[in-house]
Each structure stands twice: as structure tokens, then as C-alpha cells.
Symmetry: none
Subunit: 205 residues, 4 copies
Amino acid sequence: MRNGRAAEGGRQGEVLALAAGLFASNGYSATTVRDIADAAGILSGSLYHHFASKEAMANAILTAFLDEILGRYDEIVAADMPARETFEALATASLLAMERHQAAIVIYQNDGRHLALLENFAYLRDAGERFEQAWVGVLQRGIEEGEFRRSLDPRLTYRFIRATLWTVARWYRPGGPQSAQEIADQYLSILLDGIARGKKKKTKE
Amino acid sequence: MRNGRAAEGGRQGEVLALAAGLFASNGYSATTVRDIADAAGILSGSLYHHFASKEAMANAILTAFLDEILGRYDEIVAADMPARETFEALATASLLAMERHQAAIVIYQNDGRHLALLENFAYLRDAGERFEQAWVGVLQRGIEEGEFRRSLDPRLTYRFIRATLWTVARWYRPGGPQSAQEIADQYLSILLDGIARGKKKKTKE
Amino acid sequence: MRNGRAAEGGRQGEVLALAAGLFASNGYSATTVRDIADAAGILSGSLYHHFASKEAMANAILTAFLDEILGRYDEIVAADMPARETFEALATASLLAMERHQAAIVIYQNDGRHLALLENFAYLRDAGERFEQAWVGVLQRGIEEGEFRRSLDPRLTYRFIRATLWTVARWYRPGGPQSAQEIADQYLSILLDGIARGKKKKTKE
Amino acid sequence: MRNGRAAEGGRQGEVLALAAGLFASNGYSATTVRDIADAAGILSGSLYHHFASKEAMANAILTAFLDEILGRYDEIVAADMPARETFEALATASLLAMERHQAAIVIYQNDGRHLALLENFAYLRDAGERFEQAWVGVLQRGIEEGEFRRSLDPRLTYRFIRATLWTVARWYRPGGPQSAQEIADQYLSILLDGIARGKKKKTKE
DNA sequence: GATGAATGAGAGTTCATTCAT
DNA sequence: TATGAATGAACTCTCATTCAT
């Protein structure tokens, strides 16, 4: 039974994890179906017992990630916290997602643009918009509520944040010197208060 | 005459620009030599009168960018300014580089990892290290000189910065609402002072 | 128990009928074992409990048809009727065979040539010769007995007849406007007396 | 330059002729692109310099035949001859078409049904209708004008004729004992006047 | 009898590259 | 410089078949 869903049970899940790793390190289009099959110890044709196509594999990988993270985003936004807490929660959730979906995030970041052009990946565009809405929303609310500086351009700020959030997955090593949580904390500290020392200059805005 | 270098004048330069645009929007490995030839209005075989190989094109594109930006970095570091000014100059130089090398930056960001595995692109690893040295250097100096917060992890901070710096090229549109200089200013403002309003909490560090 | 013969009873027969339908509408080589299994509601591997191979299925289908029709031809020829009656009986028998073997006839007509090249289908060549012998025989006898025009080339005439006889199965719809018997009658009428009206021109030959 | 047109000039034409021969003798789907390339003495990939796909080859082959024969049909119908002459001209034109398009006719006859299901071969359905219109038209006219027997069912009669007309190409050998013209004459003689000897029975209809 | 995972060969196609003209 | 024909390797995917469970 060919399965486009997440990587839960059995063989399918293992194969998907291997594929995700290869897509992430070599790129989607530079990864061949044979590479994946080799990694799984089977012949390339046998992969098609589990997945309808190479695209279907990427699909399953990305969908598992996006469904989870966007679900988490929805929960956070729905929780109706002060803007700054919502903001922190979104950033933390995004970085913690690396623990279960690191490869997917790398693929999303590296190949997302290109894949989104394919019919089967139309949902990537929707996902991009949902990310943006959540972030731009909380930034605007924070500005209105006086939590964030009035001079911010929400969309531009979102783009700066987005870049860092998803790029971390490129170098993050689980079990490495910094945990995802620690990375999130450091990033939030920099993002909220800046790297410069001393009293803020633009306090009055 | 096959040329692996950056090609300013004439046909070579035009072809290179077309190739850069295609590599940037479709990805290096998804761009075919025929795509480039089509864009140039010639046949794919004819490209080989200008360039020795597809890799040579990517090489010329990336080298032109890296030579220029790393030269600029060297100048800035050599100028011996206060850490904060050096810092601002590096960020600004990186973002202004988009004006002449947007496609190259996108390629560097998207395909750099993958290309760096190829023999002909060994210099990409060196470039990465030189970037890192410049940034980690100025961050450390800034901390020592009391300009930047003592709590920063320079390498981690560099990685956050790097992500944003090069990712901007993905969405930047020359002649669009924000100039590269404006983007640089906004980014620096956020990076240095944070997005949060009000007096700094961690002033004493 | 693998069975290469015609399969009347039970599952085998049902599967064979499904396979015959698919072979007939899509062609033998364009029909996959999976198509057949899907139609039967089982997995493709499970088909091999019933049949040794895809060829064995085609074999069973064609054999069932050929055994029956050639047996009928033998009876007709042995009955020792006047040439014209034999002739009519052969044509009618061939067209009535559609009622039980329509798909087999389509396969025989469409894929027979190609299949006959395979070892397992050597009998198709024999069958072709037996058809030809029966028809060429009755045509020659008819000419000798003065029933048929002396100007006929028996082999050529046989080829004209054969084409129509087996091609009817391509468009015949059981329960449609014309029964197989009616089609046979119309064909015989045209074949024997022609479509032109008025007195025969070549009466004296 | 990839060419979907007929098999006129140079290499393209040669390759097309080879492909046509293979499609005709082995069937379209049983003929591999490698078979064609082997026959042409090149590698399979090189075929794609001349043709966009295997389908494109079949397309060019069938189109060349259909354009020519349907053009001929149009001329004949437009010539406004007595029904019987039109009828003879159509049959003769169809059989003489074998001289330039024998393989195409075999492909049309064997694989036409199956190919017509593919998007790129939609025109096959139109062609089928144009053939039918021409023949059914002339049959009806002939009946009205008293040339053909009133008892004929034009569509059914057309189907009988069609079967023979296109099936001849399966066994016809150029330079063999009978020319296409001789075959046409014999077929017309049988078709118009029947194979039975002696006075017509159904003269009064 | 049926499943489901796997095989292994081969399908159509793509593509960077070469080279005689 | 450019063309156009060809190469050769690799690619995604298909499919008849096998077999342990």
C-alpha cells in the first residue's frame, strides 16, 4: 500500500527517514532514487512498493513537518497570549521542530522554492503564507500593544527572522554543544534586545 | 578561448549573467545547459566555445562574487575601525553586494553546500572560513571592547547573522520598495538594538 | 494448482475472463499483470496461484477459442456438404464464435502475429494454417463445382474474408442492434452476391 | 530541430522509416526506443535529437499517412462522380496507399485503438470519423441512385470493407506476386459482384 | 489462497559533453 | 563562433515474477 503520509510505522518510516537525510544533505534533485534505495539496502525498483514516486517521498517528508509545525503555530496563536509571549513561543516552536524534522526543514529551506513549482507541492505556497500570517500578525499586534518598536516593518522583520529560523537546521547537530532550546533562547535574546550593549538609543520611538 | 574567470566584456559576460539567473531561480542541478543555451539564443553545444563546462560557469559566477566581497571584507577589517563600525560595514557591504551579485549570492546560499563537495569548488570552503573569521573576529573584538554584550556566543551569533545576510538575496528586488541600503539599515537596527521596546533589561552584562 | 488450460469453473475462469477483456481492450503487452489483479480484486503476486505466467493466461484464452472454433471447422468440413453450404457454415461458425470468445478473437486478431513469435505460442501458426486450409479448400472446391466464380484467387479471397471475419469482434456488442447471426447473414449476402445491384456482369466466367 | 512532420528529408526520414517498420512488425508498445536506435545504428539517447519522444515518432508516421489518404479521399469525394466510381476510387486509393505507407497502415490497424486513447493521438478519432463519413456517404448515395442494393446497411457494410482494406497491409509484399492495383481490382470485383457464380438471386431489390 | 516485500531487467528519457563541418 | 548529430552514462519508473509468512 503506497503511503503518502508521515513516517510512522515500519519500513516506510525508515525509508522516509533515509530519504529525508539524503535530500537534506545532497539536495532533492541531486539525490537519486538509487541513492535512497542503496541506503535502505534494497533495489531502486523496490522503493516503488512503498512510494509512488520520488516526489511522493518528498511530499510525505514535508507534509509531516508542515502539518506538525503549522498545527503548533495555530495552537500558539489561539492561546491568546501577550504578543511578546506569542512571539517567543513561535520562535521556540520553530527551532524545537528541528528535533523531529531537521531534514525536512533543510529540504524546505533549500528546495522549497523549486518544489513549490510542481503541481504536487502546491501546498508549499499555502504553508508559506500561513507562516507569514502568524509572524506578521504577532509583530503587528506587538507594535500596537507597545511591546515592539514602532519603527519595525513587520513583513521585512518577518523575512529576517524566517531566514534564521529555518537555516539553523542546516548546521544544528542533535546532541551537539547547544540544544535546540538553548539556540532558541540565544536567538530570542539577540532578536528582542539586540547585540549592542548599553542603554537603548531609540527608546523614545 | 575558454575562460573560467569572471567575464566582464562581451558575449561571455552576457551568457554568464543568464546562467546566473537560471541557476538562482531553478537551482544549479535543475538548470540544464540547454536552458542556458536557449536563453542565450544558441545551441547547447555552442556554449562550450565560451565555457569549458557547466561547472566552469558556476565557478566564474561564484568567483566573481566571492573575490569582490572578500576583497571588501579585507578592506573593512584592515581599516581598523571601532568594532561596531566594522560590524556595520560588513553587514552593509554584504547586503550591497546584492546589487551586482544577487544571483551569485542566491546560488552560494542554495547550492554552496552541495557544490563545495566538488573538486573544482574547494575554494568555497575557504571562502566560508574567511567570512566566519571576519565576523567572529569583529564580534569578539566588540565584546572585548565593551560594544557588544558579553553573553554572546560569537560563532552562534555569526551563524544567525549569516543566515539573514545571504537569504535576503532570495527575495530582494532591485528597484523594489526597499533599497539594499535601506534593508541593511533596518537589519542593523534590529540586530544591534533588538525589536523589543523600552529600556534594555540586561544592561549590566 | 497452475493451470494452462481453459478454465471453466470457479475463480480461474473468472480471472481469465477479466484478463481476456483487458488484453482485448488494451492489448496484450500494454495490459499489466497488476491491471488484471486489480480487476480481480487481488494482489498481482496472488495471480500466480492461478496461473504460471502472463503468457499462460493468454495461452488459456486463445486455446479455449481455437480448440472450439477449429473443432467446429473440422465438423463442418467433415459434413461433406455442397461447397456453398460449407462456405456459409464456416463463416457463420466464425462469427457466432464471438458470442463465447469475443475477447479471444480480438486478441488473436491484434496480438496474434506478435505472440506467435514466442515459443509458447507456436500453435498459433498451426491454427493459422488450419484456418487457411479450410477456407482455401472450400473455395477451390466451390470453383471446381461451379458454385464460385472461376476468376477467384482462393488464397487472396481467403485473406479478404479472414480480415472481416475476425475484425468484427472489435466492434461487436452482444445485445446490440445486430446479433452475430444477423451480421453473418449480411456478410454472406454481400460476399456471395456483391453489393452492386442489377444483373451480374460476369455471369459467363 | 525536432520535427513532428512527415518523413521527407534526410536522417529524420530514414529513422522514421525504420521506426515504422519496427512498430508495424512488433507492435508499438513492444518496440523499444533502443530497438529503433539499434536499427538506425545510433544510441537510444541520440534519437531524441530528432524526435521528442517515442509517441512523436508514431505521430509523425501516422500523420503522414492520414494526411495523404484523407486528402485523397476529399479529392475523390469532391470529384462528384457516379457513386460506383467514387466507391471504386476510394477502395483503390486506400489500397494504393500501401505503396507509400504500408507500415503506417499496419500500425493504424493494429495499434490505432490503443493509441487513440492517448492525448497526442486524439486526431485518430477524427480520422476514423472522416473515413466513415466518406464510405457511408458513398454507400448511401449509391443506394439512392440505384447502383447498390437497397438491402445494404451502410454502416455495417463500411465496417466489413474497412476491415479488409487496412488488413491487406499486414501481408502485402511490394514486388510480390500481386501489385496493390491488382489486389484492389480483385477486391472490388468480389465486393461489387460477389464470389458466387450465376445469375443474381436478389435482383429485384 | 492470499499478502506484501523484494527482485532484476529493462523501459523511455535527460543531459553534459564532444566534434566534424 | 556556431551548428547539429552523436555519445554514454545516469535517471525515474515499470513490470513480470518470486517467496516467506
